[in-house]
Subunit: 376 residues, 2 copies
């Protein structure tokens, strides 16, 4: 993996860049679309491409349990398995292990948990997680970290951060020992809850270990937004300029804009895809909850400013009918629209950075967004 | 609607033709893809087009209840509502009323039934059904008929056929009174169970009333195949050569081939779409039930002879994974494949007729198909 910073906005830390891997190129700031089980829910890879997506995020926990890393490896890796002509990243599975499973034990060694599918017991170590991801074969793999809840006492957060640092060191070593790369890159994950000192300690330690990129984890878990922004800045100010920075699980369009301003290059979140399946659509005029009765006879598109296939061809009335009738085309058309919305947002951000007008663009975006939210 | 017979195979009654409406042209023999609620389940209109489909069949019963004919009319008719750039046909709703609802009363006047959605009571007459379909605005509308079960006594079948004939007469009159056409065409439906005399009586009566096309209904409901083929021939031998003939609800690829041989021009069935959603795929090598464990590590396409997006890009192993994981992409890719299979079948049939080799083609098809079924 190569990362190149193409331009830094004159008035702030917002950066425009490029990630190159053997599977292609992705522009940053990038929003990675979540494809948990080796598919972006309700969307075919060509639709995903059409929406402007360049990176798909697969979930190691899910793919490890089903279909299993060997099947994905035999298929030629995640991108080949799902026929995705673009970049892939796999998370470490940590978040899912800590949030979805019956977690039976966590030690320095690793985690023991029961599968949410069949209750079977599994033991994963940082090394094993690297091996699994090596098989799955994404361009970017993530280290196993401990995902903590919010709020958390300083003492617990400190112990957890040290565990995460130790695991990161072992992950890096396992990655080196496997002789992976340059086909695959590995990112470390910064934890430390909402404690500035711990975030700094964790950031410094990971920089010392050295990774191809650095993720900021454990945010957007219920803490105040101000704390999230502060913790992001603590890390981005310390991180080396020549490595991509990835804020995990974020999020709302307005939060993405704020964190780009703080120097973040990569984002992921289930929001565009999950909301779409619930009929909640992002538009230039605010949120449209298309199941609402008010749209029954509304023959205008979801978003008149959007040029996606959904907006070019279908009305709110039709989408509402599809959702009400439980038709499979509903999540498909809605997801295509929301993913397009997010990718257009990132394109606009990149364009504004290139032209040194990100600061103005950001203010205009927030004014429009807040106006739209109030109408909602 | 215009119908033109382009060629009749030299050795048999198989015909190749063209249906022209203001929404475009469809070649016959045609297989109409079922789009019950104003969408072909799991497929976008552009995917449907790509699969080669030219006519979509909407269900009047479903569209009448939801979103209601007024919404569809306001959208500009069914094709505009669903953004389908092709022909549409609506059934009369009769089949659904008789099979899906709590049918409370049937008289000479019409039928009283309770909606399967909310239990609300509705009374529909042949005239009302024409009016509803006029609003829905499909290119071809169907008369209300009584759908009978198999087996049925001669006496009951005779009474039912007479009711159907009376309703057909009233439907034709209602159609004329509304001043519909040439934008919309109306087809009569031949009933008469498996009784040759009744089929003849019904066919003659409908020819006398005169319709733009003639459907053969009440078959493929459990009767022996030989009876179905015989009843089809009884009608096609009497029907005027210059009007399209539509065999309703059929069906299996091998039955379509046999009924084309007997002079049928149009078919519809939920089989390709419904089977796809269950993971049952039609291929040149027989049926592939892709959920089966035997496909877990099978990286070959569903059908190596198929050029659809699914077969060109995805493996059986991937499809199996999608079905097992309950992913929405599974029904989408499977439906695209099955609809493509049916449309390719119809193209091959039309080509064979054009070249006066339908008889040979038919035998080769059956040999291959039976071989494939035996492997299955």
């Amino acid at each position: 993996m190569e990362f190149e910073v193409l331009h830094i906005d004159k008035s702030m830390g917002a950066r425009r860049g490029l990630i190159r891997t053997e599977h292609g190129t992705a522009e940053t700031p990038a929003f990675m679309t979540v494809g948990t089980q080796g598919t972006v829910k309700a969307l075919s890879p060509r639709e995903l491409k059409e929406a402007g997506a360049e990176i798909v995020l697969g979930n190691t926990y899910h793919l490890y349990l089903r279909p299993g890393p060997d099947i994905v490896a035999e298929a030629g890796g995640l991108a080949a398995f799902m026929s995705w002509d673009g970049l892939t990243l796999t998370d470490s599975g940590g978040f899912q292990i800590f949030s979805m499973t019956d977690l039976t034990k966590i030690t320095q060694d690793g985690v023991t948990f029961r599968s949410h599918l069949d209750g079977s017991e599994h033991f994963l170590t940082p090394e094993k997680v690297v091996e699994i991801q090596a098989k799955i074969g994404a361009d970017i793999i993530m280290v196993l970290d401990e995902c903590t809840a919010y709020p958390l006492s300083y003492d617990k957060a400190r112990k957890s951060a040290e565990l995460t640092i130790g695991w990161a060191e072992r992950s890096r070593k396992a990655f080196n020992d496997l002789g992976l790369g340059p086909g695959q890159a590995i990112f470390g994950i910064i934890q430390g809850s909402t404690y500035e000192a711990l975030r700094k300690r964790c950031t410094d330690a990971l920089i010392e270990i050295e990774f191809d990129g650095y993720a900021i984890g454990g945010l957007s878990v219920g803490e105040p937004k101000s704390a999230m922004f502060e913790m992001v800045s603590v890390s981005t100010e310390l991180l080396p300029a020549d490595r991509p920075r990835y804020l995990m699980g974020v999020g709302f369009p307005e939060d993405i804009v704020e964190c780009v301003a703080r120097g973040v290059d990569m984002f992921d979140c289930v929001m565009p895809t999950r909301n779409a399946r619930n009929g909640s659509l992002f538009t230039s005029q605010g949120k449209v909850v298309v199941k609402n009765a008010m749209y029954a006879g509304d023959f205008s598109p979801i978003d008149p400013e959007c040029d996606c296939y959904t907006c070019k061809n279908f009305s709110r009335a039709y989408l509402r009918h599809l959702f009400n009738a439980g038709e499979l085309l509903a999540p498909n058309l809605a997801t295509l629209h929301n993913v397009t919305y997010y990718q257009r947002l990132m394109r606009e951000i990149r364009q504004a950075i290139s032209e040194d007008r990100f600061s103005e663009w950001r203010h205009a975006f927030h004014s429009k967004f807040e106006g739209a939210s109030q109408q909602d």
